[in-house]
């Protein structure tokens, strides 16, 4: 065996062994909104949770840590952050920074105006409004409270959300072809196949991360079992996707 073989073999082994991406908190939920092309991610952080909504031109982050809630809006023009804890509201925008307590009505109004005058506030509220998630999506209520919060701080009126006001339509009886699988791949478009594959692959990785979380490095058999289950799920998802996009 040559030195080149050893080096390349090590590279291959490293390529096949995923490393948990836990630097920014544990990913709990990941969803893609087809209507706006935005990505929603929910992370569990050390002392709370963080919800991120990312569109190509705008990023909304809402982080709860203890009693402090920080809403950050980021776009090309800059960063607007609104932090609220039990005592103080702090607003930071490219135009300035204001901190106020509920008793300081003048400063509170100044902070409100600072948020209201930032163009990103309206864009963020509009983006959340356009999301196509249904009322049954667990993230939607969180995002709607963010929108209501933005509307309240900036003095706008938040429109009533019809997704919660309208009762779900009763199921309509009908006939459809079924197969042994969850959904017949013949009825799925390539994009749907990809979405289903991406969802399954991300779930597999999250399960692997969860599996190796409490394992020490010397628990070799346990780690190998986690890796084997991960590989089976990942390869299963991959072969399902190949079958889904195959020409029948």
């Amino acid at each position: 065996m040559t030195v080149r073989s050893v080096v390349l073999g090590s590279l291959l082994a490293a390529l096949g062994t995923p490393v948990p991406a836990a630097a920014q908190g544990k990913l709990l939920h990941h969803a893609i909104d087809r209507q706006t092309g935005s990505i929603v991610r929910v992370f569990q952080t050390g002392d709370g949770a963080r919800v991120e909504l990312e569109s190509p031109s705008l990023k909304i982050t809402r982080e709860a840590a203890g009693a402090r809630v920080t809403t950050t809006l980021t776009d090309a023009a800059g960063v607007v952050s609104v932090t609220y804890d039990r005592r103080t509201l702090t607003v930071k925008t490219p135009a300035g920074r204001v901190s106020a307590t509920p008793q300081q009505t003048g400063r509170m109004e100044q902070a409100r105006r600072l948020v209201a005058n930032a163009p990103v506030t309206g864009r963020a509220a509009a983006l959340i409004e356009r999301l196509g998630f249904g009322a049954d999506t667990p993230v939607l209520p969180l995002l709607l409270t963010t929108r209501t919060f933005l509307a309240a701080v900036s003095g706008r009126t938040a429109p009533r959300d019809l997704r919660f006001a309208t009762p779900a339509a009763p199921p309509v009886p009908g006939l459809m072809r079924v197969s042994l699988g969850q959904q017949s791949s013949g009825t799925m478009t390539p994009t749907q196949c990809w979405n289903a594959y991406a969802k399954e692959a991300i779930e597999a990785y999250k399960e692997y991360e969860e599996c190796i979380k409490d394992k020490s490095w010397y628990e070799i058999l346990d780690n190998m079992a986690c890796g084997a289950i991960y590989d089976m799920r990942a390869i299963g998802a991959f072969t399902w996707w190949l079958k889904c996009v195959a020409i029948n």
Binding site: M1, R4, S5, L8, G9, L11, L12, L15, G16, P18, V19, A21, L27, H30, I32, G37, I39, R41, E54, P190, T191, W194, N195, A198, A201, I202, A204, Y205, K206, Y208, Y230, D231, A234, I235, A237, F238, T239
Partner: protein, 64 residues
């Protein structure tokens, strides 16, 4: 006939590696999960890299 079989096995091993690595790529690159074109591009790149590495590592008969 033999080189053909070896290449097929190398392709299968590269596909196995690609399938193992893709979930990690989809987690770390959300844009790839949202955009099939980008995702497939990355998948092809990973497949090519894997195939190259597998082909380089593959044991060869020593020349005399």
């Amino acid at each position: 006939m033999r080189p053909f079989i070896i290449i097929v096995i190398q392709i299968l091993v590269s596909a196995f590696l690609t399938a193992s690595v893709m979930p990690l790529i989809l987690v770390t690159t959300p844009a790839a999960a949202a955009n099939p074109r980008l995702g497939l591009g990355l998948m092809t790149a990973v497949l090519l890299v894997s195939f190259t590495l597998v082909a380089l590592v593959w044991p060869r008969r020593k020349r005399r």
